[in-house]
């Protein structure tokens, strides 16, 4: 395979990769908001390559039931929202947060997201926030809620240095809501059906308006449920934007029978990658869309896409002595270094432009563990980031989970089938960029119509994707309508 000569960067105009597309979805935000979210991995696609987050599971109670949730939340092996391994008291949560902050200095954000609804556990949630805003003032605090108790909590939230709130809003129509929420607990009664959904929707919208009025940043999460709210979410997106939400995160429904959820047991399917992307693109005309969400557990620790919770279990943090003043000094230096690196990378960004202007878009998968470079061996990738290259530039689309088939030892076990799963997860992609790749997966990928590429190790992702795109264009592969590879 011939590598084309790198284009000389063109000085005029903007980078092909970020002009009019959502290379960084925050492009259109005010400077003030950008400054607030530039080191928040959940809100800034750019930041998620560099900064880490954590959730503390202090909030077990919930005031509603959702059809995608099973309230038996205690599970070590599943990675989805609403699941945790151990509940923490506020005191344990503060200790754990400080232990993680000292050991993973790039952790900038502490969120409370469950396993129930944080605002249905106001004492435990606010005790945790109150102490952390005093004892660890360099950590950003955020909270995620279903919104039912939000209007009553806004005043308290505004006291604790919390400038980010996420509300899960799946609908603005009670008829649709009744298909998602079987009941709510409201004014000392369990209420069901459309009446329940109507109350929940009113509370969510009221809470959103109150937060915006207080100057607190609001992100809206929506779960895409095919056949239930798929045709409705564009309207949701428009309405929440009008009311002042700054980012909309449409996530795919996770529904498996073994999770014991209503949707899982009843056979409700989740959306395909194409359906999710189509809806995100539809909403993007009105709203900043978030596409890098990993739907993490309510006790996740580390970079998005990784979970280091096992290193910080209660028995392990018990033995850790943390000098937080010293940790804070160290963290400050590291954060400054990361921000300097991000800025210099932005400034030195290699602008690779599309060479042909009439070629079709292509999806490519990238194996990365952060720093915005291609730096993971194909067989070690836990997930792939999916980028779309087209004559308009390169844009980030989503991530896809891969089961690691290569554990690095000689016994491969049922490796082959896991490799096949990984290849299937990359369906729709035409190339995969990684630091290295073995012979067996190489062959399997080629048979599936996906071109493996290990030639851009340690290179910046978007520039490399565009180089590969240009290579494909030059080879005449992009002139016709794509023929889908059959797995």
């Amino acid at each position: 395979m011939e590598l084309p000569v790198l284009n000389a960067p063109q000085k005029s105009g903007c980078a092909a990769s970020s002009c009019g597309s959502n290379d960084d979805q925050l492009n259109h935000l005010s400077d003030e908001i950008r400054a607030k979210v530039q080191n928040h991995p959940c809100y800034s696609e750019d930041a998620h390559h560099y900064f880490a987050r954590m959730h503390v599971a202090v909030a077990p109670a919930c005031n509603i039931q959702c059809h995608y949730c099973n309230r038996k939340y205690d599970c070590a092996n599943e990675s989805r929202p609403g699941v945790v391994s151990e509940l923490l008291t506020p005191n344990q949560a503060v200790k754990k947060t400080m232990a993680v902050a000292a050991n993973i200095p790039q952790m900038t954000v502490l969120g409370i997201a469950g396993p129930g609804d944080p605002l249905a556990n106001p004492e435990r949630t606010f005790e945790t926030f109150r102490r952390l805003s005093e004892e660890a003032p360099d950590i950003k605090l955020c909270v995620s809620t279903n919104g039912l108790a939000l209007p009553d909590a806004v005043e308290e939230l505004s006291k604790h240095n919390i400038d980010h709130v996420t509300i899960t809003i799946n609908c603005v129509d009670p008829k649709i809501g009744a298909k998602i929420y079987p009941w709510i607990f409201w004014k000392n009664k369990r209420i069901k059906g459309e009446k329940a959904a109507k109350i929940l929707i009113e509370q969510q919208q009221k809470g959103l308006e109150m937060l915006v009025a207080k100057g607190i940043l609001v992100k809206v999460n929506s779960v895409l449920i095919p056949g239930v709210n798929d045709k409705h979410l564009a309207e949701v997106s428009r309405i929440v934007k009008e009311k002042g939400a700054f980012l909309h995160n449409v996530m795919p429904l996770i529904a498996e029978a073994e999770h014991g959820t209503f949707y899982g047991v009843m056979g409700q399917r989740g959306p395909t990658n194409d359906e999710l992307q189509a809806l995100q693109d539809e909403c993007a005309g009105d709203m900043n869309m978030m596409r890098h969400c990993r739907q993490c557990r309510a006790d996740a620790v580390g970079m998005l896409g990784e979970d280091r919770g096992d290193e910080f279990t209660l028995d392990k943090i018990e033995d850790m002595e943390i000098d937080y003043q010293a940790a804070m000094e160290k963290r400050k230096v590291i954060h400054q270094a990361i921000e300097a690196e991000m800025n210099s990378k932005r400034a030195a960004k290699i602008e690779v432009k599309a060479e042909k202007l009439n070629t079709r878009p292509v999806l490519m998968a990238v194996a990365t563990s952060g720093q915005n470079v291609i730096n993971v061996h194909f067989g070690h990738a836990k997930e792939f980031l999916i980028y779309e290259a087209s004559p308009n530039g390169v844009r980030f689309i989503s991530h896809r989970k891969a089961d690691q088939y290569c554990g690095g030892d000689t016994s491969c076990g049922d490796g082959e089938s896991v490799l096949q799963q990984t290849v299937r997860a990359l369906e729709g992609c035409e190339a995969v960029l990684c630091s290295k790749i073995g012979y067996e997966p190489w062959e399997m990928l080629e048979n599936a119509g996906i071109t493996p590429n290990g030639e851009h190790a340690m290179e910046e992702i978007e520039a490399a994707v565009m180089l590969v795109y240009n290579e494909m264009a030059t080879a005449g592969k992009l002139d016709e309508v794509k023929q889908r590879a059959t797995a």
Binding site: P60, R71, A120, E123, P182, F185, K189, F262, V265
Partner: protein, 92 residues
């Protein structure tokens, strides 16, 4: 006259702060109701508060040991459908 929490309780804390008689307490392996204190909320609320917020079907029994929230009543999953799904999973 008292309600009872049984082993299917997941320790979610939702009921405890709602109890007007402070009859519910944290215990291992799950929350319990002090039968001497429980009034079933008579005089305070129309419905027993613990049973009105509990998300787990079957976890709270009335004084006749009958589940206040029987299978299917909270999740909407018909019990036979749940049994079918679980049987299928175990077969694999």
């Amino acid at each position: 006259m008292a309600l009872k929490i049984i082993e299917s309780c997941v320790n979610c804390f939702a009921c405890e702060p709602l109890c007007p008689s402070k009859a519910i307490y944290e215990a291992a392996p799950h929350f319990l109701i002090d039968p001497k204190k429980c009034t079933e909320c008579v005089g305070d609320f129309d419905v027993p508060q613990c049973a009105a917020i509990c998300p787990i079907e079957g976890a709270i029994l009335d004084s006749l040991n009958v589940p206040i929230n029987p299978p299917g009543s909270l999740t909407g999953i018909p019990p036979e459908k749940m049994a079918e799904a679980m049987a299928e999973l175990q077969a694999h």
